[in-house]
Symmetry: D2
Subunit: 350 residues, 4 copies
C-alpha cells in the first residue's frame, strides 16, 4: 500500500508498505479521510527524535478492513473513527485515570510516533473495541475526522479549566485547537469568552465558536485588556493553546486567584517554561496549572460524535483546504509552511 512518510528528519514523501495485520484484539482500517496537524510538522522537524520511513498522521476515519479474533464490538465494514491517542487501557497510568500516559509519559500517542500513522491506505489500531467508535449514519467523514484530535484536545482545555457556568475564559491563540477550546468553553457554559488572536480569518472563526470579545495582541496589551474586560479581576480560566513561553506567562498573569491555567499547547522549545513569580502570587494565589494530552477511547469519541450529531459544533469551517491523498506532498507543504491562511488541510483517500 501507499504511505506518506517521514523519511528522516526534515524529509517527507511516499513509500510502499505492506498492509498491516491485526493482532487478536486489533483492527486494520481502510483510510477514507484524514487531517494534517501542526504536530506532523513538529515530528518531521525532529520534535520527537529521529525516525526512518515512519508513516505520518494521527487524525483519520475509515472503514474497518479486518479485525483480530478477540474483537467483539467492532466489525468489518463499520465506518469508524479512531482517537489520535490509542491508550493501553490496562496500564497502571490508565488505571490511575490518565490513559493518555499509558506506557510512559505521552505513551498513548502511538500513531506516527511509536508506530506507523494514518497517512496510508490502511492503518492499524490497537485494542479496537476500546479505541474505535462507529460513526452514526448522519455524520459525514469530513465532520467526524475532527473528533480524533481537534475536538478532543480543544475541549479538554476547557474541561481541565474547571469553568463555572457564567465564568470568564480567555483562550490564547485561535489555531484549530484554540478554536475548539473556544467551542469547548462555550459547551461548558462560560459567560464570557475572550479570544486572543491577530489573524482576521481566525478571529472570525473564534467569534463563530463562541468568543464574545477578541483581543489582537499585535495592537493591544493582552493583560491590560483582559483585566479591563473582567473588572480588574482576571479570568476564571486561561487556556494556553499555542505552546509559547511568553503566552504561558500571559496566561498566568490574566488568571484570577483561585482560577486555572489550562494548557493544551505543545511546548517545543527551550529548557524551561517560565511562571511569572509575582503574578503567580509568589506560589500562594491558588492559581492551578493543568495540562493533558488529547483524550482517546471509544467512549470519548462517541461523546464527541454526539456533539456533532446535535449540531452544537460544526468543525467544517476550519477546513480551508482539501486534497486527494495522491497530492499529499503539496498538501503537507500548505500545512507545514502555513500557506494561504490555512487552518486545517483535509485529505481524501481512494
Amino acid at each position: 500500500m501507499k504511505a506518506f512518510v517521514m523519511k528522516e528528519i526534515g524529509s517527507v514523501g511516499f513509500t510502499e508498505k505492506p498492509v498491516p495485520e491485526p493482532g487478536p484484539f486489533d483492527a486494520v482500517v481502510r483510510t477514507t479521510t484524514a487531517l494534517i496537524c501542526t504536530s506532523d510538522s513538529h515530528t518531521v522537524q525532529g520534535g520527537i527524535g529521529p525516525r526512518e520511513n515512519l508513516t505520518l498522521g494521527h487524525e483519520a476515519v475509515g472503514v474497518v478492513h479486518a479485525v483480530g479474533s478477540e474483537v467483539r464490538h467492532i466489525r468489518p465494514n463499520d465506518r469508524v473513527l479512531a482517537g489520535a491517542i490509542t491508550p493501553d487501557w490496562g496500564d497502571a497510568a490508565a488505571q490511575n485515570g490518565f490513559p493518555s500516559q499509558s506506557g510512559g509519559p505521552l505513551g498513548g500517542f502511538k500513531f506516527a510516533n511509536s508506530k506507523d500513522g494514518v497517512f496510508a491506505e490502511y492503518f492499524h489500531v490497537n485494542d479496537a473495541d476500546a479505541n474505535l467508535a462507529v460513526i452514526p449514519d448522519g455524520i459525514p467523514d469530513e465532520w467526524a475526522v475532527y473528533c480524533s484530535d481537534m475536538l478532543s484536545t480543544g475541549f479538554m482545555g476547557a474541561e481541565k479549566g474547571n469553568i463555572p457556568i457564567g465564568g470568564t475564559v480567555a483562550v490564547l491563540a485561535q489555531g484549530p485547537v484554540g478554536l475548539m477550546s473556544t467551542a469547548g468553553a462555550k459547551l461548558r457554559g462560560a459567560g464570557l469568552i475572550i479570544g486572543v488572536e491577530s489573524v482576521p480569518a481566525r478571529q472570525a472563526l473564534a467569534r463563530r465558536y463562541g468568543a464574545g470579545e477578541i483581543i489582537d495582541f499585535t495592537s493591544e496589551d493582552v493583560v491590560e485588556r483582559v483585566l479591563e474586560l473582567t473588572g480588574g479581576e482576571g479570568v476564571d480560566t486561561a487556556i494556553e493553546a499555542l505552546g509559547a513561553d511568553v503566552t504561558f506567562q500571559t496566561a498566568v498573569k490574566i488568571t484570577k486567584p483561585g482560577g486555572t491555567i489550562s494548557n493544551v499547547g505543545y511546548f517545543g522549545d527551550g529548557e524551561f517554561v517560565r511562571i511569572p513569580r509575582v503574578e503567580w502570587g509568589v506560589g500562594m494565589a491558588d492559581k492551578t496549572i493543568a495540562t493533558g494530552l488529547c483524550p482517546g477511547g471509544r467512549l470519548r469519541m462517541e461523546r464527541l460524535l454526539r456533539i456533532l450529531e446535535s449540531g452544537q459544533v460544526d468543525p467544517t469551517p476550519m477546513t480551508t483546504h482539501e486534497f486527494a491523498f495522491d497530492d499529499m506532498e503539496q498538501a503537507f507543504e500548505v500545512s507545514d509552511k502555513k500557506l494561504d491562511d490555512v487552518v486545517k488541510v483535509l485529505i481524501r483517500f481512494g
Copy 2:
C-alpha cells in the same frame, strides 16, 4: 408599606408593614419586579410550618433604597438582583462549601421563611455586599429576576449532575426549574438531553431550551424509552425536577452505573423517598445521588447575569402571565391553582 402575606396556613392577602431598616451590613431594596414560585404555595399550605402575617416571595429585583454603615460595594439607587437564598457567609456550613446550609439545614433560605419575603414594596437583604449583584444596563428586570431562583436552582441540577461533554442527560419534569435544568444541561455540553413531560406547551419550551428528545410519561414507559435512546445503557445524569417518590425511582432506574442522580425537586410528602434496590445495583453500582438548595450570593448572581447578557439563555418565554402588584391576589391564585397553562407569573411593582 403594602405587603402580600401568608396570614396563617391556607390564607393569603395584603397587609400594611413598616419599611424595613438595614443593619450595618444590610440593604433595603425597593421592589420593581418579582416572580411567584410553587414553593410560595407550599409555604401557604403549611410546608414549613405555621406562620403569621409572613410576607411571601423570594424571587425579586429592585432598586437599592438604603444601605447600612458598613456596606462598601452596593450603593443606593443601584439596580440589583437578590438571590433567593441569602447565606451567612461566615457560618461553618458556608466555610465547608455549602452556604445554602448556613445556620442549619436549608438555613440560607430566609425570605418568606425565617424573615419577610419580597412580595412587598420594600424588602430587606442581609449582608448586602455578599448577597446582592448590580444588574448590567442591558438586562431588563424581567430577565434578571429569573436568576434569583429559577436559573440558579435549575443550573445547579446540571452542575451537580457531573455531566461530561457529549454526555446523556434526562430531566424529569419540565416545570420552570426543570426547564432551567434542561438549559443548564445544554450549558454543560450535554450531547443528548431527554425531557420527560406531558404538557405540550412545556414540551415545546423544553425543546427550545435544549431537549433533543421528549418522553411523554402518560403514553410511554420512561425507563424503557430512555434505555432505547441510550443503547440500553441509561443516562450519565438524571435530574429529578419534580420532587415525587415515583419520579425519583425512575431517575435511579434510568441512570447508568457510574452516573449521577441529581435532585432539584422539593419532596413535600411521605416519610420516605425510596431507592429501587436492584436498579441501584444493590448499593454497589456507583450511582451517586446528589442534592442541593439554590445557590445564592453576589458571585453566583453575576455569573448568571452573564449568561443572560451573552444571550445564551432567554428565560422570558417562561413568563406566561404578568400582573401588577395590586392584583397579587389574582396572580397568586393563577400560580397556586396552576390555571391557564401557567408556567411563571411575573409581578410588576410601582
Copy 3:
C-alpha cells in the same frame, strides 16, 4: 484439581475440575491462601441467582502457574495478589472511571459469579498484567490476602466519603468491611471516628483500627448519641457497612448538611432502600449518597500492599479462624453460621 463449589442454591461441597488454561492475556494462579466472605454465603443462598457447580471464593493470593502469550509484566512463579474484582479495562464503563462496572452493572465481579472463583487449587485471572500485583517479599500471604476485598472495599467507603482532615466520621457496623472502613477513615485523616457496633470483640477491633468512640446500638440511640458527640451537627461522613434499610436511614439522619453517606453494604432484601425524607432535608440539604463496588486492578493492589508494608494497617487480628483447604466444609460453616464470634476465616492451601 479440587474445587469447593456451590452445587446449587443452598448446597456446597467439593468437586473435581480441570486446571484452567490461560487465554493470551491471562494467567492461572496456584492458590496458597484465601479468605471466606459473607458474600460467599449470599451467593449460596441464591443472592445472584442459580448456579451449578460454581467454584466459590474471590479473595486469594497464590503463585503464578502459567501465563498467556501476550502477558508482559507477570511471570510464572511470581507470588501474586488478585483483586476480588477483575475489570475489563478497555470497556466503556472503565473508560468512564468505573472499572468495577465494566461489562454491565457490577460486571467486574467475575470470581464466583460469571466464572469460577478462587476456592480451588488453581484459579484463572483475566488480563493478568492489569489485574495481578506481585507481592513484595516482606509481606506474608496471610496479610496480602486481605487487600483483595477487605481493604479495597473498606477503604473505598472512606475514600468516597470525602472525609476532610480532622472531619467526623461514623462507621455503621464493624464487620470486616466496616473495620477496614474505620481504618480507611483514619488513613484519610478523620479527627473523630465513631464506630457503631454491639459485639464486644468487634468493638475492640474497631478501637484498634481507629474508632475514638463506640456506640452500642442495642443500648443507645445512635442518632441522639452521634449528634451529642458532634455538637448537634452530625458527622461529615457516615459509612454504611451493613446493607440494611434501617442502618441506611440512620446514616442519612446522622450526616450533617453538606456531608456524605458512603455505602459499602450489600443490600440483599426488599424492594426499596428508604431515605428518610425530612432528615434528608426534603431533597435539598446537600447530603450526597455515594456507592461503589470494591476497586480492583494492579495499581490499586500495589497501593494497598504499600499500606501493609509501611505497617499502617495490620489486618491479621481479623483472622479469627484458620483451616486447611481440605477442611473447607467446616470452615464454610463457621463463616456461614457466624459461629464462635467469627470475623474472618482464612484458608491455607497445599
Copy 4:
C-alpha cells in the same frame, strides 16, 4: 500595650500601642502564646514592601478580652485560636471557594501585613465568629498555637496534592511547614513518604512525622533516588515546601505523569519560577501544579484541633526554643538567623 514591631525595612523592636477596639463583628484577644515564622523574617527584609511600626506575628492563641456587639458564638474569657489567615467570608473570592484570596491576591493574610499582627499583648480579629475557634480543655496553648499556620499550611500541601491511599509522596524540605506536610501526607494515607532534607535533626523529625525514606540532597541525586524508590515511575505527589526555583524544578521532575506538584513554599526571589519543559511532558503529561495559601476560619481550626485532640499529630517536638515576650528581640534573632538548629521559637506572654 507592648508590641513587637517592624520599625522599617531591616529593623525590629518594641513599641507602645493602644489596646485595639473591636468593631461590631470583631474580637480583641489577650495573647498568651505565639510562634515566630520565617515569613516574619521575609516581612522584615521587605518581602511585602515597606511598613512603619507594624506589629509582627501571625501565629497565636489567647483569651478573649472583648467582643463586638454582633458577635454571637465567641465570648469574653474563651480560650481561642486564630487562624493566621482571617478571611472576609462574604467576598467574591471566598464565595468562589478561595477565602484566603478574599479582598485580592493573598488578601486573607492580614496579620502583620494589612494590619497589626499578634506579637503584642492584645491583637484584633475580624469577624470573630468566623475566624476564631474555642480551644478544647485538654489541649494546651503550646499545642494549639501550631494549628494557626504550621498544621494548616502543611496539611494543605498534602490535601491539594491529591494523594491516593497507598500513594507515593515526596516532601522537599523539612522545615516546620514541610514537616507538617509530611504529617499531612500520612494523614491522607500515603503508602510511602520520602523526605528530602540534609539537616540531621530535621531528618529525625521527618521520620517521626511519617517519612519512610530520607534523601539528603547534599550527598544524593534527588531525582535519581526518587525514581529508584518508585520503580522508575516518580511519585504521585511532590510537595514543594521550600520556595526555591531549583527545588520546584526537582518537584516537577520527580512527579509521575498524572501526578501533582503541590506548592506550599513562598517564592521570594527572581522574576520567574521555572518549569523544566521536557520533564513536564512538553506541557502534556497531566502533571498538575497546585498552590494555595494557609486556610483559615473557625471550621478549619476546629478540625485541626481535633487532630491534636486525637493525638494523631504532636507538634511540640518542633519547639526547639522558648522565650518570654520580654525577650522577643533575642527570640527573633534566633529564628531570623537560624541559630542553634532552630525549628520553631515559641513565645510566652504575661
